[in-house]
Structure formats: structure tokens, C-alpha cells
């Protein structure tokens, strides 16, 4: 986990913060995780489509679960990382730009995984429940979670003159959104109590899953987690490059302006 390529990232504008980290993962680690992601995704496709037996009740539609459940799990993990990184940014002793960028990257992935979980759930629900959407508690709170963090991502995209102040504001906004999650959860739960219990994490129901089905579900979770870490690293890197690009453009603009002025004189 070392920084390799020296870039002028964050010089000047981030002087108030601790030195920046250009890469989230060391290139070797990143490459290994990238390949593991690819291998586990291929294995998941093989197990999910052919390895696991067809569900007795739901038929082949149940195979969507091998993607839906990991996506939902990753969504929660990603938002938790966003909240934790935001808290670390707000604590003066641990304040560093790495946490701000990590929070932003993780939130975007969280929104993507939440959207994926909702879409896949809908595709699964159509043949099994007979409807694209049901006003089930977990569906409704997941949809609200999607919009809560979509708003946070929109806030992050607003251009700001003061990067440190903007990062502080974004971190506070992430914690506000996170504080709302339990309230949303319980209020929706009270409203709609006909939800079904979680299957994998419910010890009573666990034996009901066929061995290979359970294995495939865990494989999916592993593959998605690896994919999350890999994409997180890539998105983080992109944020660093975006900042570099902005710095370069600013310098170029100043240079052009100075040249134009001296040409006049």
C-alpha cells in the first residue's frame, strides 16, 4: 500500500490537510483483487446458472437471488464505509483527503448496488410474486436509501470554491443521511409488517437452503465484495485524476491569461 506515480494532486488547494494518498491500494494488490474478481464472477455465473439446482417452488427465477442478495449486502456495506469515512474526516486528528474521496467513491458504488438490488428484485418479483413491485417494508426502505444517497452524490457534484469546506459539508451530509437510515427502517417496518425474514442470516431457516445454493450465494457475496473493493480503488483513482486535471486546467488558464496580457503590452 504505497504511493507510486508522483502526481501534483491537491497541491496548494489542500494545504490545510494531511498529505494526500494517490492510490487506495498498491498496484500489486489491486491487480490481484482485479483478477480474483474476474475469476469469482465467472465461477458465480457457472454455479448460478448450472451448478446450483433449480428451486422447487420458484423455478429458475430464484437464480436471480445469487446476484440480488450480494448486491443488497454490498449496498449496505458501501453506505457504512461512506459513513465511517465521513466520521473519520470530521475528526480533526484523522482528517485527510483520503477519507473524503473514499466516502464519495463508496457512496457512488452504494447507489449503484442499491439500484442493482432494486432492479434485480423487481425482475425476480415479477415471476414469483406476480408483480414488479410490492409495498414491502424492505423494498420501501431500500428505495428510500437509494434516494438518500443519490442526494448525497448530487451534493458532492456541486462545484465549490473551497475544497476543504465542501469536504466537511459533504461529510456532515453523509452522517445526516446515515442517521436517517434506522428511522426510515423502523417507520416503514411498522407501516408494512408483512415482510419476509432474511434467509441466510436467519439461523432457523438456514438448513432449508440446499448446500450448493448456499455455497453459490456465498460465492456471489465474495465476488461482489471483491468487485466492490476493486471498483472502489478505481473510483478513488479517478477522483485523484479529476483533481489533478482541474489543477492543470487552472494553471493553463492562468498561463494563457498572462500570455494574452503580455502580448497586449
Amino acid at each position: 500500500m504505497t504511493t507510486t506515480t508522483p502526481t501534483p494532486s491537491g497541491r496548494g488547494v489542500t494545504a490545510a490537510m494531511a498529505p494526500d494518498r494517490d492510490q487506495l491500494l498498491a498496484p500489486v494488490v489491486r491487480r490481484v483483487i482485479g483478477w480474483l474478481t474476474l475469476v469469482s464472477l465467472v465461477a458465480l455465473a457457472l454455479f448460478g446458472l448450472w451448478g446450483a439446482p433449480t428451486d422447487a417452488v420458484q423455478g429458475d427465477a430464484q437464480r436471480v437471488m445469487y446476484l440480488h442478495v450480494p448486491a443488497a449486502w454490498l449496498a449496505y456495506l458501501a453506505f457504512f464505509v461512506t459513513a465511517a469515512a465521513s466520521a473519520l474526516f470530521l475528526i480533526p486528528r484523522t482528517r485527510a483527503q483520503v477519507w473524503d474521496r473514499l466516502a464519495g467513491a463508496s457512496a457512488e458504488l452504494g447507489v449503484m448496488f442499491t439500484g442493482l438490488a432494486l432492479a434485480l428484485g423487481s425482475i425476480w418479483g415479477r415471476p414469483v410474486w406476480g408483480v414488479w413491485w410490492a409495498w414491502d417494508a424492505r423494498l420501501v426502505s431500500t428505495a428510500l436509501l437509494f434516494f438518500l444517497f443519490l442526494g448525497y452524490c448530487a451534493l458532492r457534484r456541486v462545484p465549490a470554491a473551497d475544497p476543504v469546506g465542501a469536504a466537511k459539508r459533504n461529510a456532515i451530509a453523509a452522517l445526516f443521511a446515515f442517521a436517517d437510515v434506522p428511522i426510515v427502517h423502523f417507520s416503514v417496518e411498522w407501516w408494512r409488517t408483512l415482510h419476509q425474514k432474511a434467509t441466510v442470516f436467519n439461523p432457523e431457516l438456514n438448513p432449508q437452503i440446499h448446500g450448493v445454493m448456499g455455497l453459490t450465494l456465498w460465492l456471489g457475496t465474495l465476488a461482489f465484495t471483491l468487485m466492490y473493493v476493486y471498483l472502489l480503488d478505481r473510483r478513488y483513482r479517478l477522483a485523484v485524476l479529476e483533481a489533478d486535471q482541474a489543477d492543470v486546467e487552472l494553471e493553463q488558464a492562468i498561463l494563457d491569461r498572462t500570455r494574452a496580457r503580455s502580448a497586449h503590452v
Partner: protein, 225 residues
């Protein structure tokens, strides 16, 4: 000066500006009423749907009006160096939060009375449990005003704030919308027993976001440029 005295000063200032400019009275409340009218067009008063869904429509109208009220509450700080004035006055951030939230809550309560009368008259609603209705409205309004003030200062000074505020605020307020609507339904039906868990949830929401506001407002107020 203590916190409450400072908060009262800020609230008094905001309400005095409202008394002189009459933006809430002349624009936000009429907006709430036109929303109530539009719902009647959408849901056809002859079908008897309006009376059944009146609590939800009432809170939707309040929520939409809240967005305008919050925008207004921070727009008045942008002109004539008002924000610097507050800063130089040495007021505590927590006091500014409490004062502005109280001013928004006071305006919302007036709006709720007017829109409520509109709903009763236009939708033909009968109230059987006034106590529950009043308590629900009080708890929900404090929650709405506190959250609105918090997100108002978060978006204040940002480019794109007009479009950003609803996207940030409305998902957060979903539990209030849900709880207040269910509690109102129980209040209208005269079964207050079912409403108390919702009133409790609304109170927890109001206390939580008021506490967050008291703690976090100062940092956000400093960043808002």
C-alpha cells in the same frame, strides 16, 4: 446572553422580516392552498377518495410548502451582508439554528391551520380526535422545521441549491410523512390508541434532528458562503 435568549432574538428577527415582507402569508400559504385544490382535480371529489386520503394530501401540501419556507429562510440571509451581520453579532451557531427553526415552525403552524381548514371544508373531513391531531401536528412540525433548517443551511450558498434541497430533504422526511399521515388517519377516525406509536416516532425524530442541528449547525454555517 444565554442560548434561549439568543434563539428568541433570531426567531424574532426572522418573524419580523416575515411580518414586513409577508412572503409566507402572501405566497407560501396560497401555494399550499392551490396544492389542496389541485389534489381535488386529480382525484375527482365525486368519488369519495378525497376524504379517505385527506391526511396524506394534507402532509404532502405541508411538505411542499416547507421547501419554499426553508428556501426563503436562508434567502433572507444572503442580501445586504445579513450573514456577516449575524456572525459579527457573536451569536452562537446553536442559537441561530434554534431561532431559525422556531421561526420556520411558527410559519408552518399557521400554514397548517389554513391548509387544515381548507382540507376540512373542501374535502368534507370530520375530526373525531382533536387531541391526537394537535399533538401529531406539533411533533411533526418541530421535526420538519429542524430538518428543514439543517438542510437549508447545508444547501445555502451552493450553486444549484434550489434543485438540490428537495432531493436532499424529501427522502430524509419520508418517516415524518409516513408517521404524521398514519397518526392523522387514526385521529380522524377517532381511534387515538393506534396513533401513539406514530406520535412517539415523530417525537424521536424531532428530538434527534433538533439535537443534530444544535451540534452541527455551527460548522455548516461557517462553511456556507
Amino acid at each position: 446572553m444565554n442560548l434561549w435568549r439568543e434563539a428568541a432574538l433570531v426567531a424574532g428577527k426572522d418573524l419580523r422580516i416575515e411580518a414586513r415582507s409577508r412572503v409566507t402569508l402572501g405566497q407560501v400559504i396560497p401555494f399550499g392552498m392551490i396544492v389542496v385544490l389541485l389534489f381535488a382535480f386529480a382525484l375527482d371529489p365525486d368519488r369519495g377518495v378525497l376524504e379517505r386520503v385527506a391526511p396524506g394530501l394534507f402532509w404532502i401540501a405541508v411538505l411542499l410548502a416547507l421547501l419554499l419556507a426553508v428556501g426563503r429562510a436562508f434567502a433572507i440571509e444572503t442580501h445586504h451582508g445579513a450573514r456577516d451581520g449575524l456572525r459579527i453579532a457573536g451569536l452562537d451557531g446553536s442559537a441561530i439554528f434554534l431561532g431559525k427553526a422556531a421561526a420556520i415552525a411558527a410559519q408552518l403552524l399557521v400554514l397548517e391551520v389554513v391548509v387544515g381548514i381548507g382540507v376540512i371544508v373542501l374535502y368534507g373531513v370530520e375530526i373525531h380526535g382533536l387531541g391526537v391531531i394537535l399533538l401529531t401536528a406539533a411533533a411533526a412540525t418541530i421535526g420538519l422545521a429542524a430538518t428543514g433548517t439543517l438542510y437549508g443551511v447545508l444547501a445555502a450558498g451552493l450553486r444549484l441549491r434550489e434543485t438540490l434541497l428537495p432531493l436532499l430533504l424529501l427522502p430524509v422526511l419520508a418517516p415524518v410523512m409516513l408517521g404524521a399521515t398514519r397518526a392523522f388517519e387514526d385521529g380522524l377516525a377517532g381511534v387515538p390508541g393506534d396513533a401513539w406509536p406514530w406520535v412517539g416516532m415523530l417525537s424521536v425524530f424531532a428530538v434527534l434532528y433538533s439535537a443534530i442541528g444544535v451540534l452541527a449547525f455551527d460548522a455548516l454555517w461557517e462553511e456556507a458562503t
